[in-house]
Symmetry: C2
Subunit: 427 residues, 2 copies
């Protein structure tokens, strides 16, 4: 349960936070978190593509239309999804209370971004949440202790809290120190479809609304949108970022060197958080990376990687450390992507932190299928294959030999623990 | 391990069969089956849409282009998939041998339909198979004993053999007795995408090539194509039918009363076989039916049912008898189908043989979501819901309130046994 960094969500200048237990979860674990900026921030978000989004998601999207936001409020244990009109009323009530009690300089509920995660189809216990907000509003502060509390308060079936932190210097000369920090939750109902879980990111970068929205969209599309635990896109998925401008860097208002550097840092942060989610996938004991090379185009590469990452047969083979590679090839075959069997090759090899090791030549990876022909492995290669499959992380590299489409996705194995966790979640 | 009927694959006039052990499976279980017609038949097939089909599938498709076939040969334990050029050579060798040694009136290998099922990426043990074919060719016969042997010889991870039989009278007056019989296999790597597994159907109906192909396509699309165990479309999926004409009914050469009656019988037979596959899904302990009503169109209805049937979260909820219906609603929400949350309703109720009970009014089903609002269930309704979810079969009926699209799919639960079976299949 180690927190990955001492620096986190309140490290960027201009943010305070608080978290605690208001009583939504029967377990008595923390279930309410507040992140509040000292003044209105530039804000952006990416939300679920599920067509039955929760009232919380609908409201957060509406509130972000202005490109300005000041507070994030998240409750866990109840998703406030499929809750109809009453769910919307409860969400608005939460935003009003946060604006009135926790924000400075403004009491506009339109500056509050609400999120809820947990069981679907039940109304929020609004009285408990209201009491909780009142307490948290009086406790807002900065530092590692409160950051760790926030990361825990947004968890559901997660086993470990998830945080990441990056910093960089932006601007002329030695520049200004800019911080980015994020917390996220996600373990089950994780599938890539615009967003994947809940992630809240703070930064003190000075950046325009348009640039922030653009950089967040790009970062999410290649990080959170390329992981899957169980292909079930939740109705609550959200990634939200608030930029306070407190770092004092020259405003990023167009593409250029500072934009690129900020983007790289955000992307790296999102990758880190996404990797943490897969590692903590419900019942997961292993992580695997699916790298697709030379597909017809990137969309086809993503189709193939998505099919492989989501195949229960691939996931169970990874679980068993079983080099049953035919399952990977046939998952590619039903992905809908263009492929020519005679041009397809597959390598299985070691992986670290979600990336295949061995450089671009994939040194140490075993080729099991070469241009459509199964490779006759000698005893040494068979041993190597078994060793690689037995590791905590493994990489599969499919080379389609067709075009320039590339991608890299992360998935986790399917274990008996996944069944145990999910066969008895509400009751 | 009861065989569902004493009448099966050789009951229709004009067919003989044989099955036995040639040594592909290390377990020593039966692994080779032959079904041979006395003379060339009208033939039709539906095959996998996987873009890396096995050489067996490619060859069977080619051989069926003529609309005529006389023999079916199926080996189990090795799928002959991802086997490249050598796999194709082996397939052709098998067809040549069957034509030479098992067929009467012709020794044309183009009349032989080959299938293989089992592990992917290994070459067939062709010498063992060749010896097996020679033995089986000398043992071709008729009757329940050989039928049961055929049903067993095509099994892989199946626990029970699967057979079905139907008969009807066709033609003027009291008509002629026409028989239809089928065997199938399928337990894992089952997903609807044109075909789903292996099924071999014999009939003595007198029917034209065009009518046979049309009726088979229609029957498969609403039976085998609407079941899923694990959404993994295999590279070997095939449904093949041979019609000997031995019943002597007036030839079915166009749509009309006889066509409709034959179609109903074939559809009923395919439903029966498809239901048997889901019941024997790898690790399955329960079957569930997803009925979609009033979707925008049939395609959308199928999208929704497919998403629900394949959701690991729905499958584990069914396994646990857990009425966590939010998972069904959100699976519909990521299916890609048009839906208006405020118009959607969901009922949970009893099911028998894959069909919801209670008639069109769904008497005895519990409404948990009514036009987007969660229903507050009283104690009696909650008890009823738990009882229904605890049964061996359960039906979920989603009413979209949008159009006239309807469908009904079958799935099975996800259990720890599925993980056990698949984490260690090749090794």
């Amino acid at each position: 349960m180690a927190i990955s960094s001492q620096k986190s969500i309140t490290t960027p200048k201009g943010f305070r936070a608080a978290a605690g237990t208001c009583g939504i979860k029967r377990s008595g674990k923390p279930d309410l978190a507040l992140i509040v900026a000292d003044k209105p921030c530039t804000g952006a978000g990416v939300f679920t593509t599920n067509t039955v989004p929760s009232p919380s998601v609908i409201t957060a999207k509406q509130h972000l239309r202005s490109g300005t936001a000041q507070a994030i409020v998240c409750s866990s244990g109840n998703a406030n999804a499929s809750t109809g009109r009453k769910g919307t009323e409860n969400t608005l009530r939460i935003c009003q209370q946060v604006a009135r009690q926790a924000m400075i300089h403004s009491d506009d509920p339109g500056l509050v971004l609400p999120s809820s995660t947990g069981t679907i189809g039940r109304q929020l216990p609004i009285t408990k949440i209201s009491r909780g907000i009142a307490v948290l509003a009086s406790e807002l502060s900065r530092g590692p202790v409160v950051d760790a509390a926030v990361a825990r308060a947004i968890m559901t079936t997660d086993l470990v809290p998830k945080q990441a932190y990056r910093s960089l210097r932006l601007g002329a000369g030695s520049g200004k120190q800019v911080h980015l920090a994020g917390v996220c939750k996600g373990s089950g109902m994780i599938a890539p479809n615009m967003a994947t879980m809940l992630a809240f990111i703070t930064t003190d970068a000075n950046i325009s609304r348009q640039m922030l929205a653009s950089v967040l969209r790009d970062a999410v599309s290649v990080s959170f949108n390329r992981i899957s635990v169980d292909q079930h896109t939740s109705p609550s998925d959200s990634v939200q970022i608030l930029a306070s401008g407190g770092a004092g860097n020259p405003r990023i208002a167009k593409r250029g060197r500072d934009f690129d550097r900020f983007k790289d840092a955000l992307l790296d942060l999102c990758h880190d958080l996404a990797y943490q989610i897969v590692c903590d996938g419900e019942g997961a004991t292993k992580v695997f990376c699916v790298q697709v090379l030379r597909a017809k185009n990137e969309k086809d590469a993503d189709r193939i990687a998505s099919a492989v990452v989501n195949s229960p047969l691939v996931k169970t083979a990874v679980h068993g450390g079983d080099p049953n590679w035919g399952r990977i090839v046939t998952a590619a075959g039903y992905s809908g992507a263009a492929l020519v069997p005679e041009k397809m090759s597959l390598r299985v090899g070691p992986c670290s932190k979600g990336r295949p090791t061995g450089g671009t030549k994939l040194t140490g990876h075993v080729c099991v299928l070469r241009r459509g022909q199964p490779v006759e492995l000698d005893a040494a290669a068979q041993r190597r294959l078994k060793q690689v499959m037995a590791k905590k992380e493994v990489a599969f590299t499919l080379d389609l030999g067709l075009g320039k489409g590339e991608t890299r996705w992360l998935g986790c194995d399917l274990s008996k623990a996944y069944v145990t966790i999910n066969a008895d979640y509400t009751t």
